[in-house]
Every structure is written in structure tokens, then in C-alpha cells.
Symmetry: C2
Subunit: 341 residues, 2 copies
DNA sequence: CTGAAAGCGCTTACAG
DNA sequence: CTGAAAGCGCTTACAG
């Protein structure tokens, strides 16, 4: 095959200097229209594409955005693999990035040191981090001085960065309120892990607000941590069905959990929504198609990804490294996993 | 923040030339152990990471692998977004790539010209393409002379590249055979699109083989193209339930389709597996947790991704641009969406 | 409006 | 075993 044409080839072909080609390409300086025309013509004919390694090197800008996905346990991919959620999220980032001429790379986060290395090595222009950032990573990242967007974070350090979150408190509130309105008074709350997940804590605040608004006392015995976002939840569900007081409604912090809970309940011969009303959180694509179709709190994960990408890119291009926080709305979607008591 | 250290900084710090640093880093030439030690020491102290733009530029190698995802309709992401499948696949690629010091980028494929541009721009070392490659893309890619792995392709041109496929024919066979063994004689086959999908055609060959093996005549009227891999399938299912002959078993080419079919059947008051036995294909993570748990033909998508990555990387590093074809096994997973007639 | 030249941070023959 | 220097393909002051 023929070697890839360089800027020099274009310059020669157009009978100008490479500086001029560069100017034309970057829309910089006033280049005469005829020259511009010639150059574009040559670019087209030679089918020229600027070499981004060279561009990155000389411009100190890679047009690369890194997406950091926290690891749960072993491999970064395992996380990505299991969590249907990331699919849409990454998708949103991808769309906006491409539109703005950025490419995206994904990496699992193991050691903070690795992240730093990655950013430096690849000259990443910006970073999107999903979830609570480990303390030590904050320090590393500050040193890196790279535009950063934090997703679903409530850490105080987060205030120094861009943030995209959703109305977590309101989500918990809406879900609980819904069950209460349906006549449920014994409502369980199923977070992942209250120690490690501020998001869960905020949703629980909403849960508590809804309870107290209706004069229902908060009961610790109705909070069941699952510790793991996965479909298999025998232990969790066992605790729920044997709980005292016995709940009739279950507010969950994710659709995956809700599906898991419904599944285990079925195994125990219980019916949803006849015996238990269950609410999810997220509204995954699949949630409408399970049995029963899941009542859930919808968040627009795709938009979350888009917003995150828009924020990093703005931050990169303004050189302002601003810290904006965008809180996206949530909404209750009533389907058939909840019923009037 | 302090500027990122360069190789020069390391050289100065270690009191050697940058050439030596480079040699040490690349394990090339025989550098004395003391020197090596000094250099590594400096690298550690300065927390140095080679700039990959510079490396790419001088070594003409980006250590970047591009994943091409075909677009269905509008945005590339839309595809990625909807198809739960890609999640695992990309995950597999990612794991192997990272282990081999490659990063991966994902792009939707719109115009073949765009792909070419992307490869040239980013100096991609290798490419993984999912699905049937448009004719004109073959030509473009040949010119690019970049290691390529084709996934699930049956085009004759594909023989010139690396391929990863699964036992499609066998999958169709196993699914159909299973239904026949359960006593079904009127078995429907639901492909996506026989015109555009050789994969579907191969699975149908398996379907036909199982039929003929049992002395059941193939009946065109029992083939129902869905034309779209999505959960909503009212028209499709309407055709199925009103078909003559009336099928009792349904072999489907994807879990998404199967879930869609089951869903529509329920809406029509039909029960699975009581009225219809339905089989999927893929065995998505979710498929075990829907109602009824889906009987399906499992393929290991994660391994498919891993294999694809291994092939490109081998191809990149051997400079041999080989064309190996790996056919991964499939296996029938019996769950509860099928029953004895 | 256009170009010569230095520089971005590496790699790699070539000398020694 | 080690280093000086050219080169990878761009960008960008600086001159003109």
C-alpha cells in the first residue's frame, strides 16, 4: 500500500509550505482564499488526515478523554461486564465526544498510581470518573491538573470539580411516597452499602422524608443492605421475608437489585406485586420487559453520559477548569411490580 | 503543578544520555546493570511515564486498537446503547488489550471513509470489526494494511483476515433439536433478516438440519423475520400466533428477540412455555432472571472479545497479518421457557 | 498573506 | 556499553 500522506506531501502538492497547510487546517491566521482552496483541494486528492500523534505532541493536546470505571473486586472489566448501566453511560459520552472531535478510552481503576500513569502516558485531556473517588486519588488528580468530571459523588472534595449527579434524595422520596400512597406502611429500604455509598444515603434520606411526611416512624429493622449489586440475592431476601416488622413494600436502589429481589421472592413462592410491592431505581432498558414490568425511579443515564462529556469538553476548551454541578432529574415510572394494598 | 517529567529529565537525573534511558525502557541493547539501575531509580523518583504521543510518532505505533461497531440507523451509540451484547464483548477486548499494554477506542461506523480517516488519524495498530463488513469497506481497509479481526462474518472476502465466529449452524441445530426432542413438530424460526445476515442463514441451516434429521419437512411459512433486534415485536408475534400451520415451538436468533417475543405473547394472553416454547440465543446475563428463565443457546461473548483481542495483537506484533479463524463453541442451556409437549 | 526554523518527546541507526 | 544526532509529523512564534 502507499504510504500515508503527510502534511509535507500536501504542501508539496499544493505548492505551499507546510506552515500554510497547518494554518489552513487549523483555521488560524488569514490565508488567502485561493491558497486555502488549493490546500483543501490537495488534502482531498491525497486523502490526507493529520497524524494525531504529531498533533498531540506539538500541541500538547491529545483530544482524548479517559473514562474511569471503579473496580469491584478483581478485573475492571468484570465491573463493566456486569453492570448494564455503564453501557448507556459510556454511550452518552461517546456520542458527545465524537461530535466534538474527541476520542474516548475506558479504563478500570485499580491503583491510583495507574490512573496517574495512564493520564500522563496518553496525555488525556480530560477525565470522567464514575463514583466516589478514593481519597488518595484526589491528591493524585490534583497534581495532574486535568479537567475532571465526577459522577454520582458527594464527597466534599468533589466541590472542586465538575459534577454530574441525579436527584438521589428525591428518587428515594418518590419511590417511598408511591408505596405509601398505595397504602403500604411497612416499607423496606434496600441500599447496597450505607457505609460506602453516599448515593444510597441520600436516597435513604428521601425514603425517610417520605415516611415522616406521612407520620410513619423510621425503623432501622426495615433497612436491608445488600452489599453487592447483582441478581443473586438469596441471603438478602431471606432477611426480608423473615423480618419483623414484615414489610409489604420494598424500595430498592437499583433495578438490578430489584430484579434480583423479585427473582428470589418468586423462588420462595412469593408473588410480586401480590405479596410484595417492589420498586427499582434506574429504569434499565430491560426493566420494562421483565415480569412483572418494574415500577422504578427513572434516571436518564444516557443524558448523564452526555452531560459528563459536555462538561469535560467545556472544561478542556475553556481552560477554565470550572466546577459546575449538574443535577439531573429523576421520575417515577409506574408499572406492575407495585400494587395498591 | 510541576511539569510532567520528560525522558531528558530522567537522563539528567541519572547522569546518562536520553538514548540510554530509551534503551533501558525498551530493554534494547545491552546496558550495564549499574546504569540500568540508576535509570530505573530516576524513573521511579521522578515518577516518569513515557509520552505515548512521542513514542507513537517516532515508533510509528500507537498501541491503540479500534473497535468498530456497525450502526443501525442513526447514531453509532444508539446501537451500542441498545445492545446489551456489546457490553461483554468490549469488556473482553478491554481486558486482553490492557494486559498487553494496548488501549482501545470504540467507534460507530457510518461512512467507510470515516473509518479510514479514523485509522489514519489515530494510527490505530489494529481493528476489530463486528459484523458483516460493507463491501466498500473491505477495499478501504485493504489499502490501510492494518491488522483486522472480523467478528461473525461469513463473507468470502473475510478469508483474507482474522476471524472470530461461533458455531452458528450448530446453535440453530441444538435449539431446534431440543424442541423436537420435547415433542414439538411445528417449530418456528425467527431470524432477524435473512437477506442481510449470513449468521442467521447459518443458524437456519442448523434449524433445517435438525428438522430433516427428524423427518420433519421444512416449511417456509414457519420462518418469521423480525427485521429488528429489539424488545418490541407486536407485528412479528402477531404473525406467529396467526400462522398456519400453528407453531408450538419458537427458535429465535437472539435473547433480546426471545424476550421480546415472550413479552408480546404474554400481552396476548399466551403463556410461555405452556402455549409456546421459546428459545433464545446468546445467554445474556439477564436471561436467567427473566420470567420464565430463558432456555437459550449460550455463546461466550466475553471470550469472543478476548479472542478477538488476542488475534489482533498477535497479528500486530508478528507483523505477519495472518488470517486465522477461530470458531467458538455454543451450548444449549435448558431453563424454563421450553417444555415437553 | 506566506515561509524558515525551532521545538514537542521520543527512537534508532551509526560511531566510538 | 554509551552517546550525538537525525528523524517521526506536526505547530507556532518570528520575520518578511
Amino acid at each position: 500500500m502507499s504510504k500515508k500522506p503527510t502534511m509535507q506531501d500536501v504542501a508539496t502538492h499544493a505548492n505551499v509550505s507546510i506552515a500554510t497547510v497547518s494554518y489552513v487546517l487549523n483555521g488560524v491566521k488569514k490565508v488567502s482564499d485561493k491558497t486555502k482552496e488549493k490546500v483543501f483541494e490537495s488534502i482531498r486528492e491525497l486523502n490526507y488526515y493529520p497524524d494525531s500523534s504529531a498533533v498531540s505532541l506539538s500541541r500538547r493536546k491529545s483530544n482524548l478523554i479517559g473514562i474511569l470505571i471503579p473496580m469491584l473486586g478483581d478485573s475492571p472489566a468484570a465491573m463493566f461486564k456486569k453492570n448494564i448501566y455503564y453501557n448507556e453511560f459510556v454511550s452518552g459520552i461517546e456520542v458527545i465526544s465524537r461530535k466534538n472531535n474527541y476520542d474516548t478510552m475506558i479504563s478500570g481503576v485499580a491503583e491510583p498510581e495507574d490512573v496517574k500513569g495512564w493520564v500522563k502516558k496518553r496525555n488525556l485531556d480530560g477525565l470522567i470518573y464514575i463514583g466516589e473517588l478514593p481519597e488518595n486519588l484526589y491528591e493524585e488528580l490534583i497534581q495532574l491538573d486535568v479537567p475532571l468530571v465526577l459522577i454520582d459523588t458527594y464527597a466534599k472534595e468533589a466541590a472542586n470539580y465538575n459534577n454530574v449527579r441525579i436527584q438521589d434524595e428525591r428518587g428515594g422520596y418518590l419511590a417511598t411516597k408511591h408505596l405509601i400512597e398505595l397504602g403500604h406502611t411497612k416499607v423496606a429500604f434496600v441500599p447496597t452499602n450505607l457505609q460506602t455509598s453516599p448515593v444510597d444515603l441520600h436516597r435513604m434520606n428521601g425514603y425517610r422524608r417520605a415516611l415522616s411526611e406521612s407520620g410513619i416512624a423510621f425503623d432501622e429493622d426495615l433497612v436491608f443492605e445488600s452489599y453487592d449489586v447483582k441478581f443473586e440475592q438469596p441471603a438478602l431476601v431471606n432477611r426480608i421475608v423473615t423480618a419483623d416488622p414484615a414489610p409489604t413494600g420494598i424500595v430498592t436502589v437499583s433495578d438490578v437489585l430489584a430484579i434480583g429481589v423479585i427473582n428470589e421472592l418468586k423462588k420462595l413462592g412469593k408473588s410480586v406485586p401480590d405479596d410484595y410491592s417492589v420498586i427499582g431505581f434506574d429504569d434499565l432498558i430491560i426493566s420494562e420487559y421483565i415480569t412483572p414490568p418494574l415500577t422504578t425511579v427513572r434516571q436518564d443515564i444516557f443524558t448523564k453520559g452526555r452531560t459528563a462529556a459536555e462538561l469535560v469538553i467545556a472544561s478542556i476548551e475553556e481552560e477554565s477548569h470550572g466546577h459546575n454541578t449538574v443535577v439531573l432529574p429523576v421520575e417515577l415510572v409506574e408499572r406492575e411490580s407495585t400494587r395498591k394494598l
